[in-house]
């Protein structure tokens, strides 16, 4: 007689990969939420705090205290959050008991994307019809221009989260073009509500950086400091008021430290832009980088220091002239299989 010892025939083996990502049932999510709330109250009791007023920040602090972790990746550390944040939002089953899908576009594969495109195009057609009606009645078309500068469209990731399905780059750009076409029509104000679902406010004057007030040294002269960096160079600059326009770098005059005209031009750029060439004195220290990187670092440091001496409008002008942005360009790394960052090895036929 043959004895079957622990063999899995292909029929019995379950193909785990083919079923796709785990599907969470509603009952499962509900249970997780109940467990979370219960666990929150237990944690509050453990920490000796009031269970009613235990916020998410308190939970994070408590977990960090009870389970200290030395792992570098923040996302690998122990986390206790509301289940809606941990389990990604998934679509419910798209078909009924008889197997027939609910949405008529189900068999396109991207049903929410195509239904969105259809809806937007319907709005476009209705706006055009309204426009034609106004022209037929000889009424003037409303020419109120929507302020495009204050808002931006949804990003691809935000759209994916809204539709709960993957959107490719091409599809996303098509959708944005359709929205732009809709907005460009004069009577688009009718569909303002619909358009607002897809646009987000951009705060005017990004990064309201706090401008430090002027400090005064022993002689009563006002001064301010700034730090700048470029590539590997780091610089600190101290700009004094009521000066003669002398600039000292690492204890040496700029004429000796920067023999090249281009670097000296860069140092004077912020002062020349504001028109304050002979009015300030500057003492800076710089280390690292090369000749041009050091000049760029000092330029950024002096521009940051000059912000305290100048009105807000002029700070905005300096920002638009590119004086207050850190230059993110660094040396590109060498890749394996190539001689340099871009240069490939000499191609030999054999």
């Amino acid at each position: 007689t043959l004895r079957l010892i622990c063999t899995t025939t292909p029929v019995q083996r379950k193909n785990v990969g083919a079923s796709g990502p785990e599907k969470y049932t509603e009952a499962f999510i509900k249970k997780q939420i109940e467990e979370f709330n219960l666990g929150k109250r237990h944690l509050a009791n453990m920490m000796g705090e009031d269970p009613e007023t235990f916020t998410q920040e308190d939970i994070d602090r408590a977990i960090a205290y009870l389970f200290p972790s030395g792992l570098f990746d923040k996302q690998a550390r122990p986390v206790m959050k509301h289940p809606t944040e941990i389990f990604p939002e998934q679509r419910k089953i798209q078909w009924g008991e008889d197997g027939r899908p609910f949405n008529f576009l189900f068999y396109t594969g991207k049903q929410s994307y195509y239904s969105l495109m259809h809806e937007t195009y319907e709005k476009l057609l209705s706006v055009q019809k309204h426009q034609d009606q106004l022209i037929a009645q000889d009424l003037p078309l409303q020419k109120e221009k929507r302020n495009l500068a204050g808002s931006r469209w949804l990003t691809k990731i935000e759209l994916e989260e809204m539709l709960l399905e993957k959107v490719s780059d091409d599809d996303y750009s098509r959708f944005i073009k359709l929205l732009q076409k809709l907005v460009a029509l004069p009577c688009a104000d009718i569909e303002e509500n619909y358009i607002q679902k897809f646009s987000k406010e951009v705060p005017v004057q990004l990064q309201k950086v706090v401008i430090e007030p002027l400090q005064h040294d022993e002689r009563g002269v006002a001064f301010s400091t700034g730090e700048g960096k470029r590539k590997t160079a780091r610089a600190t600059a101290v700009v004094y008021d009521n000066g003669t326009g002398k600039i000292t770098v690492n204890g040496v005059d700029i004429l000796h430290y920067f023999p090249v005209l281009q670097d000296r031009e860069q140092l004077l750029f912020p002062f020349q832009f504001l028109g304050r060439i002979g009015k300030h004195d500057m003492v800076c220290t710089v280390s690292g980088g090369g000749r041009s990187a050091q000049a760029g670092a000092i330029r950024l440091a002096s521009a940051k220091a000059l912000r305290s001496f100048v009105t807000e409008k002029e700070v905005e002008f300096m920002r638009q002239a590119g004086l207050l942005t850190v230059d993110p360009r660094v040396k590109e790394r060498k890749k394996p299989g190539q001689e340099g960052p871009r240069r490939k090895f000499t191609w030999k036929k054999r």
Binding site: N147, L148, A149, G150, R152, T155, I157, E158, D169, V202, P203, V204, Q205, L206, Q207, V260, L261, Q262, D263, E265, Q266, L268, F269, Q272, F273, G275, S292, A295, G296, L300, E316, F317, R319, Q320, A321, G322, L323, T325, V326, D327, P328, R329, V330, E332, R333
Partner: protein, 233 residues
């Protein structure tokens, strides 16, 4: 691999990474705008601006701006065309040498023009242009071709088809022809500034080998006029 940089419009845009890394990419996020260094553009009152400029100004107030490169400055001596030309003349990153050659060229132009000015009779003195920057710009403008040729393969044969050129392409071709002309067709002992100033003055008066090259290109385009319909863009 260094990824595109992150400052600006929030956490969502930070994750922007194209699926295939393009070869020409920059460390700035695509929403960053170019900086404007000229002081005069910031002192214009609001009424003088056109619609487009107003929109551009509003956009600039909201979007982040790239850092000004080291060749850009608000001083009267920095000129974007001259910096582009200096960069094209530069070999293996030796900007110091390229810049000194450029300044020697401008000085040579000034000297030649002043010599002509002092020798000329009274009535002709006003027609002689002494400003080397004006001469440089005018010479470049005279050297720019209007149409270019491109190779289009159709039915196995490659034809030279006349196509319109963008402004950037015209400027680039003019500068490249000038530099190539000065590097090749000169005596071994003549220095670059001398030869360049000579070429620029000839181009300013619509003479010289570079202008001839431009005319040759125009004639070729005129000769190949029959193939113009091969262009599909």
């Amino acid at each position: 691999m260094a990824a595109p940089s992150a400052a600006g419009l929030g956490r969502r845009l930070r994750a922007w990474l194209p699926r295939i890394m393009p070869v020409r990419w920059s460390r700035y996020n695509p929403s960053y705008l170019e900086p404007e260094a000229k002081k005069e553009s910031y002192q214009k009152p609001l009424e003088e601006l056109t619609e487009e400029e107003r929109e551009h100004m509003e956009l600039k107030a909201v979007r982040p701006i790239k850092a000004a490169p080291p060749s850009l400055s608000s001083s009267v001596f920095s000129d974007p065309m001259i910096s582009k030309f200096t960069n094209m003349m530069m070999k293996s990153g030796n900007k110091v040498l390229a810049r000194s050659l450029m300044s020697q060229t401008l000085e040579a132009i000034k000297r030649k023009q002043l010599e002509k000015y002092h020798k000329a009779p009274e009535n002709e003195k006003e027609t002689i242009e002494c400003n080397p920057y004006v001469i440089f710009h005018q010479a470049l403008k005279n050297c720019q071709p209007i149409i270019g040729l491109s190779n289009i393969t159709k039915g196995g044969k490659t034809y030279q088809v006349p196509i319109p050129l963008t402004d950037n392409r015209k400027r680039f071709l003019a500068m490249k022809w000038l530099i190539a002309e000065c590097r090749e067709n000169k005596h071994r002992r003549t220095l670059m500034p001398e030869k360049l100033s000579q070429e620029l003055l000839l181009a300013f008066n619509n003479e010289g080998p570079v202008i001839k090259k431009k005319h040759v290109l125009h004639k070729m385009a005129e000769a190949n006029r029959a193939y113009a319909h091969f262009r599909w863009w």
